[in-house]
Every structure is written in C-alpha cells, then in structure tokens.
C-alpha cells in the first residue's frame, strides 16, 4: 500500500534500461568528472547536449527528471542570495544605493546551479533505468578487484541487496505498529513534547525488536541454505556488455577529453 517508489526505478523499455549497470555506473562517474572540470560555458553546453540526448534515449519524461529537482530549489535560491551578498567582482549590473548585484555573483550561482542540475539528472537517469538489485550487482563487480586487498565486496553487496529487499517489508511493519499504537491513543500530531517523545518511543522500540527478530530468522534461513560468507559462490545473474555499452563508454570518455581540451585550450 505504500507509494514509496524504491530507488524510483521506472520500468520501461529503452536502450538505457538495457545497458549493463557497470557501464552505466562508469559513464555516470565520467560525466561527474566532466562536470567538475572548469571548462566554461562551451563545456557545459556540450555536457548539456549529451545529457539531454541520454535522457531522450531513456524515454523518461522531462517532467519526471525535473520533479526530482524540487527539493533542491530552496538550496539554489539560498545559494543565489549568499552569492549576491558576498561576491562583489565583475561588472555591477544593478545598483540601488548600498545594494548592488555584480555579474560574477550571477555567473557563479549559475555555474553551481547547472552543476547541481546535471548531477541530479544523471543520478536520476541511473536509478530510474537500473533495478536496485542490478545496481548492487554492478557495484559488486566493479569492486571485485579490491577483494585482492581483502576488501569484502561481495559481503557489502549482499548487505545492500538484503537492505533493499526488506525496505518495503519494514515500511509495512511501521504502518502496522503505528496503527496498533494509535489504537492505544497515541497521537503523533498533537500533544506535549513529553507525550510526543513517548509516542515516538512506542513506535521505535517495537520496530527495532521486530527488525532484530527478522534479522535473526533471516540469518538462520541463509545459513540453513548453505550460505557461507567466506566461501566461493557462483552467481545466477550475470552481466553482459553489449556494443551499446561500448558506444556509451567511448562517447562519455570522449566528452571528458573534450572538456579537458576546452579547459586547457580556451
């Protein structure tokens, strides 16, 4: 019954959905690095075109991509205000008595806003086109070389996937405990601070107890089915790179090189 869309994955049929999670993660990292290269307006336009193209390929609606930015709006306005008050270089555009707005303040804010915007769109595309489980599998595979230096990549991936698996279950559980306590007169909206504290306690304590209970039973079930964290395991899901992935990887590397070039040449 919860309208909580996990990782906000959007089941659709697009070339971006079909790509290997590993290459998607690497492309995301390449784009992130590109964004942080100070390559000026030309560079940002190049990245912008690239991102728009990927967004178009992923068949996600622009509305959806922008909706994920709503929470950032406040931060952007806050940034603008701070920048306007602090940065006093460049050409003064507006002057009312002691108050003035300099061009650099606007440019600086725009740069930061565009960077943030790009980053949010990129991560949104990644999570909306990749199932959480595939994402963990991708992370696990990418971290695999680190196992040589005793980095527990597969255990971490197992932890993440179990956490993802149990989020809906625990949300349901929370709802049930809330209902049970509301039937005993708990009112989370009204009441004194002390009452509210008790109300929250009456929710959290049972939730923890039940979560530990579940964890204990889950551990038993995993062990009974022969799970041994230190032993070798095979994997049911395999990741396969296709030509699509190579195109994506090459073009995003190219974009990064382009940005570095712009940065140095211009």
């Amino acid at each position: 019954m919860s309208n909580f869309a996990l990782g906000s994955y959007m089941p659709m049929d697009s070339v971006v959905h079909k790509m290997d999670p590993r290459s998607k993660i690497i492309i995301m990292l390449l784009l992130m690095i590109s964004i942080f290269i100070p390559s000026g307006i030309t560079g940002y336009i190049c990245i912008g075109i690239f991102i728009c193209f990927v967004l178009f390929l992923s068949k996600l609606s622009i509305k959806y991509a922008f909706r994920s930015m709503k929470p950032m709006l406040f931060m952007m306005i806050f940034l603008l205000v701070i920048n306007v008050l602090v940065i006093k270089t460049g050409i003064p555009w507006i002057q009312w008595g002691w108050f003035s707005i300099y061009s650099d303040a606007i440019y600086q804010t725009l740069y930061i806003v565009v960077r943030l915007l790009y980053m949010i769109i990129i991560t949104t595309i990644l999570t909306a086109t990749t199932k959480p489980l595939d994402l963990t599998l991708g992370i696990e595979k990418l971290l695999k070389p680190l196992e040589k230096i005793k980095f527990p990549a597969h255990i971490i991936a197992m932890m993440i996937s179990i956490a993802l698996r149990f989020i809906p279950t625990l949300i349901e559980e929370t709802q049930r405990i809330m209902n049970a306590q509301a039937s005993r007169g708990v009112d989370l909206d009204n009441g004194s601070l002390k009452e509210k504290l008790m109300a929250i306690l009456s929710l959290i304590v049972p939730l923890f107890i039940s979560a530990f209970d579940r964890a204990d039973q889950l551990a038993n079930a995993m062990e009974a089915r022969g799970y041994n964290p230190n032993a070798q395991r095979t994997r049911y899901k395999v990741l396969k790179m296709s030509s699509l992935d190579y195109i994506g990887l090459i073009s995003s590397s190219f974009l990064l090189i382009l940005n570095i070039a712009i940065c140095f040449v211009l």
Binding site: K131, P132, L133, S161, I162, L164, R165, P168, T169, E172, D213, R214, Q217, L218, N220, A221, M222, E223, A224, R225, G226, Y227, N228, A231, Q232, R233, T234, R235, Y236, K237, V238
Partner: protein
C-alpha cells in the same frame, strides 16, 4: 557414542541419540532425546509452544550446537566440520514466509542455494524453471516478494530447497502463519514430496489433521519425548495427550463415538477413513 553398523540395510535419514541442549547453560530445553527417522518416512513432531520442537529442528541442521549427545544425518555425524555437508542433505522451511525470502525476485530466491553450492551459472536457469513448475510458481519467476501471498512465498521456499535435491526436508511450523488456502496448498506439497519424490519429511506442526496423515508421530513435552508411534498409537493415549494440552483430530473423536455405539469395530483418524468405514454399512432401504 553409540555403535553404528556401516552396512545397515535400512538407513536412518536422521538419528538423534541422547541429545541435550540448553540456551543459557543452566536450564535444559532438550533433555536426553533419542529418536530415529527412517529414510523416506513422513514424521511429525507435536507439542505445545515451548516444548522444544523448533529447537530440535535447529539442532539437526546445525544452527545450534548440542550440549551433549549426537546427531547423524544420512549416516554422517554432525559436527563443526561436517555441518556444510549435512546442510546439503537437508532443507528447512521456517514459520515466517517473509523472513526466509532472501532474493529480490522469485528466481533470485530459488537461485540463492544454488549460488551457495557453487552450481555453474549456465546450469541454474533450467533448474530454477523446473522446481518453480513443481510448486506451481513458474508464472511468478520475476515477481517481487511483496507481490506474493504467504502461501506463495512458502512454495518458493520449497522450490529453493528442491533445487538442491535434498534427501530430507524439515517443515518447522511452515503453515502456521498461512490462511486456509495457503495451508492446504503447502500440505498438498508435503504429501506429494513424500509420496512421489520419496523425500524424508520431518514436519513440526500443531495441525492434528496433518499429524493424522503422517506415518510416525513424536510427541514432545517439556523437552522430553512423551509418546512415539503411528498416529493411531499416539492418539490412543487420549488422556496423556489431554494432560499435555494436545487435542485429537475431529475424525478420531467421531470415530470413537461410532465405536461406542457399536457401529464400527475399529477407530480411524481421518475423515476419508470414517466415510469408507460407513459406506458398506449403509442400509439400502
């Protein structure tokens, strides 16, 4: 140590001898329990909550370590070294359907055991499809657990176990959290596994109707075996069962009344048998 003959013709799937266990080191919850479960048999363990039933199941698959006594599974003694080997012979279906569903989808969950036993990736898909079909879940391979009913989740758990081709399956109150539909679908599965697949079944249950359909019953009370035998033998001790706060199935209660009225000579414990007894006696007028 008990003596074991290597050439036993009738091998015991599970053999428990003088098993004692305590959670806190002081109060024993399993007290010197010994029993044998022949290969291919269908055994039920009954007893009140807190009688130690589920503890025995956890001891057999090595999730808990005994204080004293021995457990043999398929002829191998269970110890720290053999525990992974033993677990490849036994599957267990627990009570809570949610807390044993590990994968994000049905196929992933069935694959979990295969992954642990290093089955080659290319061999997994046919196995998964086959066992899913056997429990009637072939159309749900990509479903997430939140979209499944309790009964369906338990069927997936059974499929995950069948994929490992075990010799023994333990059902630890696997139907107690299910609705009637779920219950009867799991009970049908159990019966099928026993009759067609010849898998040794050990079922821990409260359901006296299920006990009546098993071959062998062990009654546990306060960590000790109080009664053991066929369902009819065990149900014969009605007063002792009552003292342990256990019921006898409705069919047997009714059968006893029929006997008292001299309508039938012998007591039976399932509804089908009651009807079969009465049919030939029906007057044609």
């Amino acid at each position: 140590m008990i003596e074991r003959k290597g050439s036993d013709k009738y091998m015991n799937a599970i053999e428990v001898s003088h098993l004692t266990f305590s959670y806190d080191g002081q109060k024993d919850v399993i007290k010197d329990v010994s029993f044998k479960i022949p290969e291919g048999s269908y055994t039920t363990i009954v007893g009140q909550n807190g009688s130690g039933k589920s503890t025995i199941a956890k001891l057999i698959i090595g999730l808990l370590g005994a204080k004293s006594g021995n457990i043999f599974v398929m002829g191998k003694e269970l110890n720290e070294k053999s525990v992974y080997d033993v677990r490849s012979h036994i599957g267990i279906v627990f009570q809570n359907p949610d807390n044993q569903f590990i994968g994000s989808t049905v196929a992933d969950d069935i694959a979990f055991g295969l992954e642990n036993h290093c089955v080659a990736q290319e061999k997994m898909q046919p196995i998964i499809e086959d066992v899913a079909k056997r429990v009637g879940m072939q159309d749900f391979l990509n479903s997430e657990p939140t979209k499944l009913s309790g009964g369906q989740k338990q069927r997936v758990a059974i499929a995950g176990i069948l994929a490992m081709e075990p010799d023994i399956i333990i059902f630890d109150e696997s139907t107690s959290m299910l609705d009637p539909q779920g219950k009867s679908s799991i009970n049908k599965q159990i019966k099928m596994l026993h009759e067609q697949k010849k898998i040794t079944i050990l079922s821990i249950t409260h359901d006296m109707e299920e006990v009546a359909q098993s071959e062998h019953v062990i009654v546990l009370n306060d960590g000790k075996i109080k009664l053991e035998g066929t369902p009819m033998e065990v149900f014969g001790h009605e007063n002792e069962l009552k003292d342990m706060k256990l019921d006898i199935p409705f069919a047997l209660q009714f059968s006893k009344k029929l006997k008292k009225e001299h309508i039938v000579d012998e007591c039976v414990c399932t509804l089908e048998e009651v009807v079969n007894q009465l049919c030939p006696l029906k007057s044609t007028i």
